[in-house]
Symmetry: C2
Subunit: 441 residues, 2 copies
Amino acid sequence: MQRPLRIGIAGLGTVGTGVLDAMKIHEAMIQARAGRPIALAGVSARSRDKRRGGHDLARVAWHDDPVALARASDIDLFVELMGGEGDPAKAAVEAALKAGKPVVTANKALIAHHGLALARLADRAGVALAFEASVAGAIPIVKTLRESLSGNRVRRVFGILNGTCNFILTKMSAEGAEFADVLREAQRLGYAEADPTFDIGGFDTAHKLAILTSLAFSTEISLESIYIEGIESITRADIVNADELGYRIKLLGVAALTEDGVEQRVHPTLVPKGTPIADVEGVDNAVVVKADMSGDLMLEGKGAGSHPTASSVIADICDIARGARSPAFGVPAEALMPCRRAAMRAHEGGYYVALDLYDRPGEVAAVARVLAGENISIESIVQRGPSLSMMSDGERGKRQTAPFILITHETLESAMRTALEKIENEGHSAGKPRMIRIERL
Amino acid sequence: MQRPLRIGIAGLGTVGTGVLDAMKIHEAMIQARAGRPIALAGVSARSRDKRRGGHDLARVAWHDDPVALARASDIDLFVELMGGEGDPAKAAVEAALKAGKPVVTANKALIAHHGLALARLADRAGVALAFEASVAGAIPIVKTLRESLSGNRVRRVFGILNGTCNFILTKMSAEGAEFADVLREAQRLGYAEADPTFDIGGFDTAHKLAILTSLAFSTEISLESIYIEGIESITRADIVNADELGYRIKLLGVAALTEDGVEQRVHPTLVPKGTPIADVEGVDNAVVVKADMSGDLMLEGKGAGSHPTASSVIADICDIARGARSPAFGVPAEALMPCRRAAMRAHEGGYYVALDLYDRPGEVAAVARVLAGENISIESIVQRGPSLSMMSDGERGKRQTAPFILITHETLESAMRTALEKIENEGHSAGKPRMIRIERL
């Protein structure tokens, strides 16, 4: 029998205990698939006394300092499950790589912020830096982009990468509920944090997208060049309108190779009903890859949670146990190209536009004129509520605006922004005109 | 720079020329991802003179005999793209493995029939036997089961594995057309062979399912223990009835771990509308894996074609170039357990039953009594066509039977078979009663 792979785990929260569960339940199977026993040789966590799902760690070496664990001479592989872009996670991973030890991490923030530098360290040491669990939980999208599409030029990768947002949008759609109410329910169910900004603001999706972009296009990771919009401003009315026009609203992370460079964006998106991505419900995640040889590929599954995330951590550990050593982002770090940012203003796509139009003669014509002036052509229009001209004088007095919704054909983001600014400045619309991008897939 | 990996390709048909295309178009990228150049050092095919999509093979060593190519001293890796379960494919792959050379193949028949013996040869030589392209074209399901689910006990794997059948069933559903007409169209479009038996009879799906079963459950491959039914007997009426009852009809390959052993079956299946697998249309393939840690995972994409299949071949080549060496079925061949077959009669599930009931008093009651006698409970009933009792005497004379469709709750296959036999023998139904299994997912 081959000698065991001795692993040290830093971080024994949700994911860490999930990994301990899998190692205990499936010990023999993991050994068969890894080609050797996996031995837990050291752990580090914030509190030594905490109960950890019935796992007895009394005979496992304890390290108060994860950096010391990463360097420990009786550890062959360092597993970082603490989270957070900075220290101690960063210092510990650096220490392991510098000591020539492979690293497995579930830490999206660490990879999104420091992935390139860490990949260089890993290459220098000739060891693996693996992070399947950092994106989309149990879905093997990192391995798919890194290894299964080696013979492809990827053109576009996009996905639903945040279960909290998809849960909220699915609930709003299914129950006709408003954002704030569903958010409260998600918080009660534990699907959303007390401070939900990181999820609903799109930042979590952006971290994951940055990682996928680098893997897909062999570019240096570039979190700061991602355009980010969250789902906070999506209303029940938007969801109803979109539905009527044949769309669902999803928070997508999209990365595309364009003539202007790499377009990376996170925003609420109208996706056509009947497409696979539109049907992804609840806390599930899904990623679609469009590549030149393979064609379209979609992977869907659990995007978070203790055991789904642990599943990906164990897969990385087994790969390393068998001696696999793919470069972190598919090619050596030195071969990654700088990520030339395509300006968001150069984005081309369809738009859903929601205006609160003043009920005055000529306003619709004025809006149409502004759009035409920017070369924006309209695909369809929905006017919500009772027609204004049918109202009695009394009703009209109470109600001086009406929702006016339109869908545009493909147009330039810069033109759309200019048009919305003009519509606002010329005083046709009460409140700020809003728009949601459309992904025709 | 590392020395090139010298590959020999036997078989230059659709997939072979696709591989040549990818190697030419993406040479630099493949080299970066493989960590070394991939050099085409030898080829073998039936005809030397044939034009091969503009690929100039004049300076590549030609072998009339693929076995000689497999053994050639200037070949590091043998790529088998000839197809067929027997020689020369089998002899050539054996020769390569015995000569200590890794093998990449797209040959489902070869792996389904001889995978265990070949995996033993590969293990003995300490080289890889890789066959991502043999199942579901571009979809990385082999790698996912072999590597990404190492920390999981897979409970069930099922999928749409034959594009021809899915094309036919999708068309029948979309256009309300009969099987024979759509088959003819599929043949005209090149989606079905002149002799379509291998596809529509479910045998192609069975080959792929046998491979997935072995990967999923770490069992010896066992093609002969698969229960197989094709789609030939599916009628337009079945599709309409299923739709009305909330289902679509798909040809599924299903493998499940049950208390009685491994259940492997291929048959037309009613799947609930709104589930991801029900929405897979046209020639696409999709595979769902249910595993204990990861939860449900679905992969969807192109299941066949020159470039999609080549994409998987190239991925295997790059893995081997980087030194990856997973056992063929995830664990060493000697660790694969015998595949204990669960009898099809012990299968439990829902059933769609289509009877052509004689229009006589008491027939419905008689059928209900037979079902009750076998402990089969009915979930819903559809009676098609005009109610018989409403017809004039003249009409009744012309039409002495009426379609009677029902859906059962979970029941035992043996009970269902007994009940249908009784219904036929007791003379309640004209023609043979038919049933289609339901997969509630």
